[in-house]
Amino acid sequence: MDENAHPTPPDRLGQLALAFSLLASLALLIVGGAAIMHFVFKQPVYGPLQEAFVGGKELYREYMSGNLSMEFTEPDDSDNSEMNKKMQRYMANAKVTWDKEKSFDGYTLLAVRMRTAVYMLDMDGKVVHRWYMPFRKAFPNPEHVHSWVKVQMKITNFHLYPNGDMLIIYSALGDTPYGYGMAKIDKDSNLIWTYPQTAHHDLYVAPNNGEIYALIQYFQRKPTPGLEKLYFPVLMDYIVKLSPEGKELWRISIGEAFVGTPYQSEYLIRKGWDYFHTNTISRLEPEMAKYFPMFKEGQLLISIRNLNALAVIDPDTKKVVWAARGNWKWQHAACFTKNGTIVMFDNKGLQRVGKKGSRVLELNPKTMETRQIYPTKGERFGTRIYGRLHMLPNGNIMIAEGEGLRALEITSGGELVWSYAFAKKRSSVMKISAVMSATRYPKDYITFKPDKLQDKGDMKAAAK
């Protein structure tokens, strides 16, 4: 029997493969056509494709401009590195002025741009201790950030515990979200715990129970009820509360905190992917609450830079109970004072033409009147972005002047009583270009022995 007489069994697999390849080429044609519509004729195409094209284009552009890298590198700033030696020499040249009578005695802590270190200075401006924690040491495999983006890392704020433990907040320039997380380290810069979320800008540690308040940020892609007037995706800010061990207890969306309040229609309109840019968090402590009858203890004060707004949020109802805008702009570091006022660093930001500089402003929330605390005589003072201040126990104010490259201490009357100024000429060499945060702790606050003080002691001992 001739085998050829048999009807050839149909090649099912081949037919399937053919159909499949036809379908696949059709899909490719659709994508190709859509790409031409998008790139050549600038026509909007089907949603996911549109996003893919825009994303691809941006990725290519960033790659070409060298902002992407498959390997994450951080400059070596360890104790014996060339960079740290240079920095120490640089800091030795800083200019210090000191009014011994009126200043608040203690140790000053300082964080600058481009460094993942915090410096501790004595009143003469001498570095007596240094904490150093590279981001990649704290987060070897960070899943909460875009690990392939080349960024400039900095510590935006910190909190010192008496035993030398320290909380630090990482921020990255060159990526979004720019919040890179929180870590707790000990006095010898050993890692204790990390909070791998996009914590940014600021943190607040409740003095009574050690609970930590911080700010995190995520892109929200679709509107939720009440947020329809924002444009999406929007970088949404959240307040988080952590236990002293770094466990997250709850979070509040700042956008949703405005929904359903009398402030909704004024505060929740308009475009801008970085709509809020919250940069400060603090809490109304029981001993302060009596000075603020309109607020309740435990309520949280935030500064929302891009809305030029301050807001007080109740953590129980998760709603805004008070919000205000005024004659300040791009403000930072709002905090409660014992005078029943709120003091803030008013950057008056981004006013390039006819720029007059920044100021420290005191707001009376009852009357909405403001008073300029500093500068008093038109001293040169200012930074377009950054800037932070801390109230000291005796009523003095410690200021980090941001791009002004100074740390200043003023009295509540605006008198300059202590200052630490980096040499500006060399700042471009050192690339630090800004003081991010500065605060002062009284000498009896700390129970650990700073490194260099020990050196001094050794030297004295050696001299004896």
Partner: protein, 450 residues
């Protein structure tokens, strides 16, 4: 002696030039601020250079290319005559003639219900304003007619605008039925015209100007800033009779908080962007007990805000935001409602479409007038522009801006007349559409017998 003075002078001027050059290098490369005057000069120069590179500036001065314009006119007319699509539910419309203005063209056409041209005007900006000192003559603009008003005798008020330029308001002119200029008001009037139907027939429109220095109490704004005004013009001479600053009126009113909102990042210099103005006439005032007759309703696009402005006290007596975004064309209706065109503009990320709303000013509740389920309209959207006219029988005439369509809608939302032009290079928007009845018109049209 003379030589020495000359030498000293030339050395001094050389020094000055060096100073300026160094200041520029410091400003441009190292972002070091020179004195404010120099900073402004440098910023201006840099911007001028960039605009020139982009081709927005012609050094020889703004010249309208008549050849191109004429061919555009011809194409526009051919398109209107042959490519328009009209759907008409004959007995349900408010019949009459529709006056339409366009983007990128100064031609204005009066068309009948079938879409045939009845009369046309084409008064180029340069003809109305031969001197035009109120605009930047070196900027290449997209010329628009944002609004027009027809008088019974064929006189026409034309509201010119120049996109690409700031201020973009290019002024108001009154021309007769043959396009002869009667008067032209050389101010940065923009967007909208309102003509008193009774009495003197005063014209209300908007104006805006650039303010360089911070206004006391408003230092938080970005300067230079575009500030908006409501102005009142004499219909016979075009002279300005009255002017009220929106900024000042808001500042002293209980609604000063609206001066501190966040506007879009790329529009911080254009804080208000007012786009419609309407007076509360005595005949209408009885439907609005909370307002007084003579008050002016102004729509402020960039704040999603409607305000009631009192001209004589220069005060704002009422203001509200709502669920609308970048609205246009707010006006009163005898039902005691305020209707407006809600663009939801530039909100493409949220995939929202435009709509016509009715707002109850008492309860602040809104209802959608168009499109409704009975409209059977799928995509009604214009990012910018958009205009609505309430017709005496309760119908709405809606110009869909960048979608080049005009709708007449019966109460309930049913579409009774639809006029659409195909997209055409250059003319990509119908900026205004106004319906006039047959007996309103008392002149002999130049195209088609009445």
């Amino acid at each position: 002696m003379f030589n020495r003075v000359l030498l000293a002078l030339s050395l001094l001027s050389g020094l000055l030039l060096c100073y300026i050059a160094v200041a520029f290098v410091l400003y441009h490369h190292y972002k070091v601020e020179p004195p404010a005057v120099l900073a402004r000069a440098f910023q201006g120069g840099i911007t001028y250079y960039q605009e020139w590179q982009r081709g927005h500036i012609s050094v020889l001065g703004e010249k309208e290319d008549r050849g191109k314009q004429q061919s555009l006119s011809k194409r526009l007319e051919t398109m209107i005559n042959t490519k328009r699509r009209v759907q008409w539910e004959v007995d349900q419309t408010y019949d009459g003639y529709t006056l339409m203005t366009y983007k990128n063209h100064t031609g204005i056409f009066l068309i009948d219900m079938k879409g045939d041209i009845v009369h046309s005007w084409d008064v180029p900006f340069k003809k109305a304003f031969p001197i035009a000192d109120h605009v930047h003559k070196m900027v290449k603009v997209v010329m628009v007619v944002e609004d027009a008003h027809l008088y019974p005798n064929g006189d026409l008020l034309i509201q010119y605008g120049g996109l690409n330029d700031t201020p973009h308001g290019y002024g108001v002119a009154r021309v007769d039925k043959d396009g002869k200029v009667i008067w032209a008001h050389a101010d940065n009037n923009h967007h909208d015209l309102y003509i008193e139907p009774e009495g003197q027939g005063y014209i209300y429109t908007l104006s805006h100007h650039i303010i360089q220095d911070p206004i006391p109490g408003l230092e938080h704004m970005d300067y230079p800033s575009l500030m908006d005004y409501v102005v009142k013009l004499d219909p016979n001479t075009g002279e300005e009779v009255e002017r009220v600053s929106i900024t000042e009126a808001l500042q002293k009113s209980p609604y000063a908080k609206y001066l501190k909102l966040k506007v879009e990042d790329e529009e911080i210099w254009d804080y208000f962007h007012t786009n419609s103005v309407e007076k509360l006439e005595p005949s209408m005032a009885k439907f609005f007990p909370m307002f007084k007759e003579g008050q002016i309703l102004v729509s402020i696009r960039n704040l999603d805000l409607l305000i009631m402005l009192e001209m004589d006290t220069k005060n704002v007596t009422w203001a509200t935001q709502g669920s609308w975004i970048r609205q246009h064309s707010a006006q009163f209706t005898p039902e005691g409602k305020i209707i407006l065109f809600d663009n939801r503009g530039a909100n493409t990320a949220n995939m929202e479409l435009s709509r016509v709303l009715a707002l109850d000013p008492e309860t602040k509740k809104v209802s959608v007038l168009f499109p409704t389920p009975s409209s059977d309209v799928r995509a009604f959207y214009t990012k910018a522009h958009g205009r609505v006219q309430r017709l005496p029988n309760g119908n709405l005439l809606v110009a869909e801006g960048l979608s080049v369509r005009v709708w007449e809608v019966a109460p309930g939302g049913k579409v009774v007349w639809r006029y659409a032009l195909p997209p055409m290079a250059g003319i990509d928007a119908i900026l205004s559409a106004t319906r006039y009845t047959k007996d309103y018109i008392q002149f002999t049209p130049n195209r088609k017998g009445l």
